[in-house]
């Protein structure tokens, strides 16, 4: 194992002091001169037309500077493909936008909302995605027949990737030894629920020039998104330190357009910051996922055929669900890497509830929540231990898959079997696993069971990154790369990598603030991509800068470049490390920077990996299930920072991850379409005193990656957890439980104690 100065060792984040003193500037702390505060009137109906809307009284309220309705907003659209207007006459869920107000304070804007008079025409609505597909179901968009969104994401591939068709499915089933069919759902609309609500500040700085400040960490993607909605606009996006996102705030298409529209009318900066009520009830949740499918297995434990329909419920809008489907289909093949016969189709469906959008797990967690139980149903028939099945079937070097670009990728470098074995050993799986629907132990009314799940995602190599590394001759280094901060310490990782290449103190390396005007393209903190993509671009840029510095020194000193080295802002011949020149002596002036450039282009030849073990205790009298301990394992190639990596693993509890198996769900009143638990008291979340023992296993197999042989990890940590927990509960109680979340009611029903 290589011994680095910074890589693989923990150093404190340079922004730690600001965080613990409350000095970190979050978006709610930004007050621009003359800034107005925007608020949005929300629809009380799941499906309705606006018949009349009267804003006169609202406009007359002192302090109100702009009021917009569907009749007066610009005709900008967002969504994929464009289908969502800034404001529409048709309202498609409880919480849809009816009108916009900008005022000198949030309180005045809220008062103004109450003065807007609206006459609605209620329409029939549909909340269930399979009902929505049926003939005669209420039509939600004129352009989407049967409420099916147009498939495919044109940025990923020309032809939509919405179905895996490989091999010969009938032949596969014919050759199989075990076949199972089933219907599994992971569709309870849990909320990612970052503590800080989504927010944007929009300000027009010229007739075409618009600046957006937002609390997401994918500013270049947001720039492209808004520019595609407003023809001719030149958009600058500033990413402000984010109070948690988990994917959910990286793109804010509608919010950005609404603030922009108000800013245009009022000719002032306009901020729209959701309050928790809006955040809960009218922002975005995890998409619904159901599989009706058939799966087969050979005697040797290889899953050899999978057929099915994957229903994806995106609620009233699709921000990017087609992309999530493409990635989810790729991840299915990562999971079943030896399967040669596929027919897995998908339908992306509109319904009249809160929209779904990208959240940590990005299609893969949603698919896995349903797919792993389906695959386990055949493993159960065959009597296999699930860990053995995962070991036999997970993709490895030499296998391949169709990834989201609809192209075939041969898998390189990785093999996760050793990690599965090590994690299984540390968890004590072989002792605890007693068979399908067999408890590990029962004492009195307490039954204990264990479960396991896996996940992997090749999006760790997605999308390009460009970076500059600048050497300043008095002895410091800047990284010009668009890296935001929403908790994952990616800026910290880039600092460490560049410090390692340049052999300079870590804290003398500065990362510029993420701003599309000042930094070249990067797609943002999504899909665990930062380690490889940002890492590779920064390492290449640092090496480029280092080479340029050494070339200059070579000329000056008449020594070959290969004989020179640099360390701690000095330069020296390798043969005579005592003879050192400061950098400034190489250029002779501080009025010069040496700039290295690094470009990364996307590559999908390696998925990352997570295995999650859960040990659950169920009270057989009350049906209450409790996590006693959990363990997550991965092989990350090379650790960049051990504590930050461990915290990403612990993050499996957050962002609608593991606890979607226990208690996290959005509960919708079927009669009105209204979310009934849309607040932080009724929506259940795990409190400090409920965190169980959590272990990790991290291997470092030095995979083929230019970012110090490291792979990204963070996004996937929660993805294998829900199915593992459901398996543990099933084993504890001796009956298969198929419903998320497994609340006491669900468990007692499975036990036949209640109907």
């Amino acid at each position: 194992m290589p011994d680095y100065q910074y890589i693989g060792k923990h150093v404190n984040r340079v922004d730690g002091n600001a965080i613990v003193t409350g000095r970190t500037q979050f978006i709610d702390d930004i007050l621009l001169p003359g800034m107005l505060f925007g608020r949005v009137l929300k629809s009380p109906y799941a499906h309705a037309n606006i018949l009349n809307i009267n804003t006169e009284k609202a406009k007359a309220l002192p302090g109100v500077k702009a009021v917009l309705t569907y009749e007066t907003v610009p005709n900008w659209m967002c969504g994929l493909p464009h289908h969502r207007r800034v404001l529409d006459r048709r309202l498609r869920f409880v919480g849809d936008s009816v009108a916009l107000v900008a005022a000198t304070s949030t309180e005045i804007a809220d008062e103004a909302l109450k003065l807007i008079e609206v006459e609605y025409e209620e329409l029939p609505f549909v909340l269930d995605c399979e009902e929505a597909l049926k003939d005669g179901a209420p039509r939600i968009y004129d352009q989407f027949e049967n409420n099916e969104f147009t498939p495919g994401n044109p940025i990923f591939s020309k032809e939509p990737f919405k179905r895996i068709e490989r091999g010969d499915i009938e032949k596969g089933f014919a050759e199989a030894d075990y076949i199972a069919e089933g219907y599994y759902c992971y569709d309870r609309l849990p909320h990612p629920l970052p503590p800080e609500c989504p927010c944007v500040i929009a300000k027009w700085t010229g007739p075409r020039a618009l600046t957006l400040w937002y609390n997401g960490s994918a500013p270049h993607l947001q720039k492209i998104n808004t520019e595609s909605s407003i023809p001719g606009a030149v958009v600058r996006v500033v990413s402000v330190h984010s109070g948690g996102s988990y994917g959910s705030k990286q793109l804010i298409p509608l919010l950005a357009l609404q603030a922009t529209a108000l800013s245009q009318v009022a000719n002032k900066a306009v901020r729209i910051m959701m309050d928790k009520k809006d955040h809960f009830n009218s922002y975005e949740v995890r998409m619904g996922s159901r599989i009706r499918g058939k799966v087969s297995m050979r005697k040797d434990g290889i899953v050899n055929a999978l057929q099915g329909m994957w229903y994806v419920d995106s609620g009233m809008s699709s921000t990017y669900a087609q992309a999530q489907i493409a990635v989810g289909l790729g991840e299915a093949q990562v999971f079943l890497g030896k399967c040669q016969n596929w027919d897995l189709d998908s339908k992306l469906v509109a319904t009249n509830h809160i929209p779904a959008a990208p959240i940590r797990g990005f299609g893969g967690q949603e698919l896995k929540g349903a797919l792993i139980p389906l695959v386990c149903s055949v493993a159960r028939k065959a009597g296999f231990d699930p860990v053995e099945i995962f070991k036999k079937n997970f993709v490895a070097k030499g296998d391949g898959y169709i990834w989201r670009d609809f192209k075939w990728w041969d898998v390189k470098s990785i093999n996760y079997v050793p990690c599965m074995e090590e994690a299984s050993r540390k968890f004590g799986w072989k002792d605890k696993w007693k068979g399908w629907e067999v408890p590990t132990s029962v004492v009195g009314n307490k039954a204990i069971g264990v479960g396991v799940g896996v996940h992997g995602n090749a999006d760790i190599g997605e999308d390009p990154t460009e970076a500059f590394v600048k050497l300043h001759m008095f002895g410091n280094v800047t990284i010009e790369c668009c890296i935001g901060e929403s908790g994952m310490a990616q800026r910290h990782a880039a600092q460490k990598m560049v410090a390692e290449v340049m052999k300079v103190p870590f804290d003398s390396v500065q990362v510029v603030d993420p701003d599309t005007h000042f930094t070249p393209y990067d797609a943002g903190l999504i899909g665990s991509r930062g380690t490889i993509t940002i890492g590779t671009a920064c390492v290449r840029a640092a090496n480029d800068a280092r080479n340029k510095l050494l070339a200059k020194a070579s000329k000056l000193l008449h020594l070959p470049v290969e004989e020179l080295d640099t360390e701690n802002y000095t330069l020296f011949p390798k043969g005579n490390p005592g003879m050192r020149l400061p950098w400034i002596a190489i250029t002779g002036t501080p009025e010069i920077t040496i700039t290295g450039e690094g470009v990364y282009e996307q590559n999908f030849d390696k998925p990352n990996f997570a295995i999650y073990f859960a040990e659950v205790e169920v009270n057989l009298d009350t049906g209450e299930a409790k996590l006693i301990s959990a363990l997550e394992g991965s092989d990350v190639g090379q650790i960049i920072d051990p504590i930050n990596l461990k915290m990403q693993m612990e993050g499996s509890f957050g962002a609608a991850g593991a606890d979607t198996a226990f208690f996290e769900e959005g509960i919708i009143d079927q009669h009105t379409g209204r979310i009934m638990n849309g607040n932080m008291i009724d929506y259940k979340w795990r409190t400090f005193n409920e965190f169980p023992k959590f272990d990790t296993v991290i291997l470092e197999s030095q995979f083929d990656s230019e970012a110090f042989r490291a792979l990204g990890f963070g996004e996937i940590s929660g993805s294998p957890a829900p199915s593992a927990i459901l398996m543990a509960i099933s084993n504890a109680i001796g009956v298969e439980v198929n419903q998320y979340p497994a609340t006491p009611e669900v468990i007692l029903r499975a036990l036949g104690e209640v109907r």
């Binding site: 404190n12 730690g16 613990v20 970190t24 990612p192 109070g243 908790g487 932080m680 979340w685």
Partner: protein, 180 residues
């Protein structure tokens, strides 16, 4: 009727007039709004504004409270400490609790961190040698979604083992704890 109130905030006596006129503290104004919008003490965060997430936790008369659930007009004669009040006022040195949070990487996005630190500070001020259960219980009203809980507990243990949250010179609760 305009009413004058006095609140000691981070050891500074502040006085406000409650009333409807411009610039006055509205009767409906929460302590959170006063701290953030009027005094620029933006280290205290607004999370849910419903008293459920603990992001806005401050210490009032020795107890951790949700500042979004308290009206400023009701705070006459109270003493309030915010995250900005924890550093040594003379040297600017971090409070040992803050330092332990840095040294133990007890944060990810950091939005909930000030609230968690204030809850922990209130606990350790009142109970310098808490049990694990008491630590967990005292933080159970603080929401953190990145899941920094395990590192937070490490940080708090580190402080307990070192003897407390107050500076030696200013300490009223200084007391060495037995190692756990």
């Amino acid at each position: 009727m305009n009413e004058k109130i006095r609140i000691c905030i981070n050891d500074v006596n502040r006085s406000f007039t409650v009333g409807e006129d411009e610039g006055y503290v509205l009767p409906s104004e929460t302590l959170l709004q006063t701290l953030r919008n009027r005094l620029g003490l933006t280290g205290t965060k607004q999370g849910c504004d419903q008293g459920a997430c603990g992001n806005c936790t401050v210490i009032m008369d020795g107890n951790a409270i949700a500042s979004c659930m308290v009206l400023t007009a009701d705070c006459d004669d109270r003493s309030v400490t915010t995250i900005e009040g924890l550093e040594d006022p003379v040297t600017g040195e971090l409070n040992p609790l803050q330092k332990a949070f840095v040294d133990n990487s007890a944060f990810q996005c950091g939005f909930c961190t000030p609230g968690i630190i204030m809850s922990a500070k209130a606990l350790l001020d009142n109970n310098p040698c808490p049990t694990d259960d008491e630590v967990m219980e005292s933080l159970s009203g603080n929401y953190c979604r990145c899941i920094s809980h395990y590192q937070v507990v490490e940080a708090i243990h580190a402080v307990i083992e070192k003897g407390g949250v107050n500076y030696a010179g200013l300490s009223i609760h200084w007391q060495a704890c037995k190692p756990r």
